[in-house]
Symmetry: C2
């Protein structure tokens, strides 16, 4: 292993900093399977934390987990035309089972709308069968050319919710409800501020009537789409012939949603909160909240360490003890690169005064606290850290959102400043395309509760929307 | 949905009974993807319970979760010769990504030994890097021709532990330790008695030096291999060129294990404990321990239901309320087919005496208990049920294990009685093959702590082992 301290400075080369952090914190490793990454124990533990919290939130909102097949026969993928057009170019095709050529080739699911529709057709017969509120945790495959750990990969770990409803109103409500579940999670657990809004028609999901997204801004001002929630109307349901008898005993077609988040959120966590020392994990999502670093091996240090372990266990605070044969300096650096919210140094000098040293990761602030006040100190540190990390990220993000009223202003900002640009937009895809072509900036999302402040930033015609632009991962 | 009561009698047609139970209890459904099943919410909830308990056990024994790629390049699968010979005939091959033909085809992992070895080669350099104790939860694919829900499927949900150790002794200890973790889980949570022992060379895993298995007996006397733990020696490690510097600074090759259990365990749960009314789920693994069935809609019933819900919540007892528009008779039958450990009937007649009725699923025994004694009654019921289910399964299994000293005895038993036959065996695969050919009975496992009681059951030569035979799923 290279020296932990050898992390490229964040402001010098952000891309290299990112790669250094994910590898030195042991989140992922490269495999000899092109385009696929290995998620190492610490990276996977973060994903497990995310899964635990989200899974509870999904269940509390009435959703149930299922597991659908991972293969989609080509004919099934072909049922909905927009959908297949969007996904067929990027799927992996299975053509042989053992030595035999398959009669029909199968793709590895890139997403599971058609599998759920195929199933829903079978089990939805009456209004009493609705709503169906299913979710699955699984791996999907999209045949990406260029990949980056957590951000773009051929294999993606995610969850996908797929629901069916008797009315379009209910389905739309579900779409928005799950968008806000994600927002709640990202804000209150990941400490990441997100813009939530509707995608333009150009950027919506293949086959959806409306797509909503959560757009986070990374430290470098670049956007990361950090979750989506789609409203399908009854387009898929019609294509699949799904019908139910309503209360008046008449046949109707149900309305559908889907929503998903992926291990990309780990990428966002790194790029929003990380610093020159490595990761910084918000306490509410950290798989290990405290690392204990005993300094020296005296019996006092050992006893204090054992007492602390007992105290942390009793208070249900997750911890690790670094008993490796490294120097304290190495251990401190390792604790920092891993982003544990707090490290506790137990050394003879502190102990002789009845104290230990706690270092808070985001600020690297040190406090010396009496041994019997460790738990209350940690509680305060975790609360403050969770709060401050969100506020800091929010402040930075807001300072990098610009308002452009004219194309000149847009050009000036887009060519000199990283970040998002908010605009007034007429709704014409030609204007959206022009900005994309001129500046490589895609539209992020429409923000409905912002007032329109002038004509279209591009063509000067009457504006109908407030639209955000930004470069993206 | 067909009438719930329409379950084929278990003693009339066991195979049909099984299919009726898995579909009527809504554990799985058939998909239009040939060979793949849909795991429905209730089936998946049982799997989640199994995952939760096992994952805790794995972590308590020092293991960490990771996630490896799901694809294996053909050249990587080919590295270990026995392994590829065993698996190549039954893998799914990906040959195209989008429109492009791949330079090298990839199989969807049928198991991940080679992926872990490829990774371990990269990260194991010194004795300080050992042991590596990794596990992953994932889906694997084996291109089976004939499939049955939970028992044989093209897609299998499972966990696979893969560990590396400095010495063969440590690796063997790990192999046996995890075998006993599984035994503990199956005995104490699933209430399933298992034989644990070594597989014969003929039946061991492709590439392993020794395979150990857990062999459960289903109600019909047929065996279900319900988990395996393999010792690889350093064969794979040598084939992959994995080496580490030992304490004396000399290069050595490490020793390897792998171990796994799958959703098959749900099949075992059904076929060991189920009865003519449907599933019977042991309380310690049941995702829903109690179903509440309000009878009528009087305000007393409603109030008692709400109070009971509050009590169960406060005592952390999982529950469901059946408020559907079905008759009480239908609800009782549904509760039975789903195998909830207890159902509580709340009706006006009982309530007028301050009572509710609790029905224990395995015995269908009814007790009327005072409202304020529900929790203590449930606790007793669950304890007794967990204990009794294991004892009942053990008694039945033991009554169907026969001892055959001669080939005549073996023939007599094998052709007239379902169950396992224990034998003395010389160790020659010819004898093992003869029994397989004559009776379609495969060897289950060698039981090391049983005394040899005579010559080989087949050839009459000196016996070296006690070997169990049985037909299998």
């Amino acid at each position: 292993m290279n020296e932990i301290k050898d992390i490229t400075k964040r402001d010098v080369d952000f891309a290299k900093w990112y790669t250094d952090v994910v590898t030195k914190a042991n989140l992922v490793d490269y495999s000899s399977v092109k385009g696929s990454m290995i998620i190492c124990p610490y990276g996977y533990a973060i994903w497990e934390q995310m899964q635990n919290v989200l899974d509870r939130m999904f269940k509390e909102t009435g959703h149930e987990n299922v597991q659908m097949p991972m293969f989609i026969p080509e004919s099934l993928l072909n049922v909905e035309k927009d959908h297949v057009a969007g996904f067929a170019p990027e799927v992996a095709w299975v053509t042989h089972g053992g030595k035999d050529k398959l009669e029909e080739r199968l793709c590895v699911r890139p997403t599971s709308e058609v599998l759920f529709c195929d199933y829903y057709k079978k089990i939805i017969k009456s209004y009493r069968d609705l709503p169906k509120l299913y979710n699955q945790w699984c791996t999907i495959v999209r045949w990406e050319k260029a990949t980056r750990p957590f951000l773009r990969s051929r294999e993606i770990l995610w969850q996908e919710g797929h629901t069916m409803h008797a009315t379009s109103k209910e389905a739309l409500e579900e779409t928005i409800k799950m968008l806000h579940v994600y927002e709640d999670f990202q804000k209150n657990y990941l400490a990441i501020p997100v813009l939530v809004g509707k995608k333009t028609d150009k950027e919506k999901f293949a086959g959806a009537e409306a797509s909503y997204s959560l757009e986070a801004m990374m430290y470098d001002g670049v956007a990361l789409q950090n979750g989506t929630s789609h409203y399908f109307g009854n387009g898929f349901a019609k294509a699949f012939g799904i019908e139910f008898l309503n209360k008046e005993n008449k046949l109707e077609t149900p309305y559908q949603t889907s929503w998903g988040v992926t291990t990309r959120m780990i990428g966002a966590l790194i790029m929003v909160h990380g610093d020159d020392h490595g990761l910084v994990i918000p306490p509410k999502i950290a798989p290990t909240k405290v690392v204990i670093i005993p300094i020296g091996t005296t019996s006092e240090v050992e006893e204090a360490t054992n007492n602390l372990i007992a105290t942390l266990k009793a208070n249900d605070i997750s911890y690790k003890v670094d008993n490796s044969n490294k120097t304290p300096g190495y251990k401190f650096a390792d604790a920092e690169v891993k982003g544990y919210p707090a490290r506790i140094e137990i050394g003879p000098r502190d102990l002789s005064e009845g104290l230990v040293t706690i270092v808070r990761r985001d600020t690297l602030e040190k406090v010396r606290v009496p041994k019997d006040e460790i738990v209350s100190s940690l509680t305060t540190i975790f609360d403050n850290m969770q709060h401050d990390m969100y506020e800091k990220a929010l402040k930075r993000r807001d300072s990098m959102i610009y308002d452009a009223k004219t194309y000149e202003e847009f050009t000036e900002i887009a060519t000199t400043k990283p970040g998002f640009i908010k605009t007034n937009w007429c709704g014409d895809v030609a204007c959206e395309n022009k900005i994309k072509d001129d500046f490589s900036m895609k539209s992020r999302c429409l923000i409905e509760d912002e007032e329109i402040t002038g004509p279209c930033v591009c063509c000067g015609k009457t504006a109908k929307y407030r639209l955000y632009f930004g470069r993206q991962y």
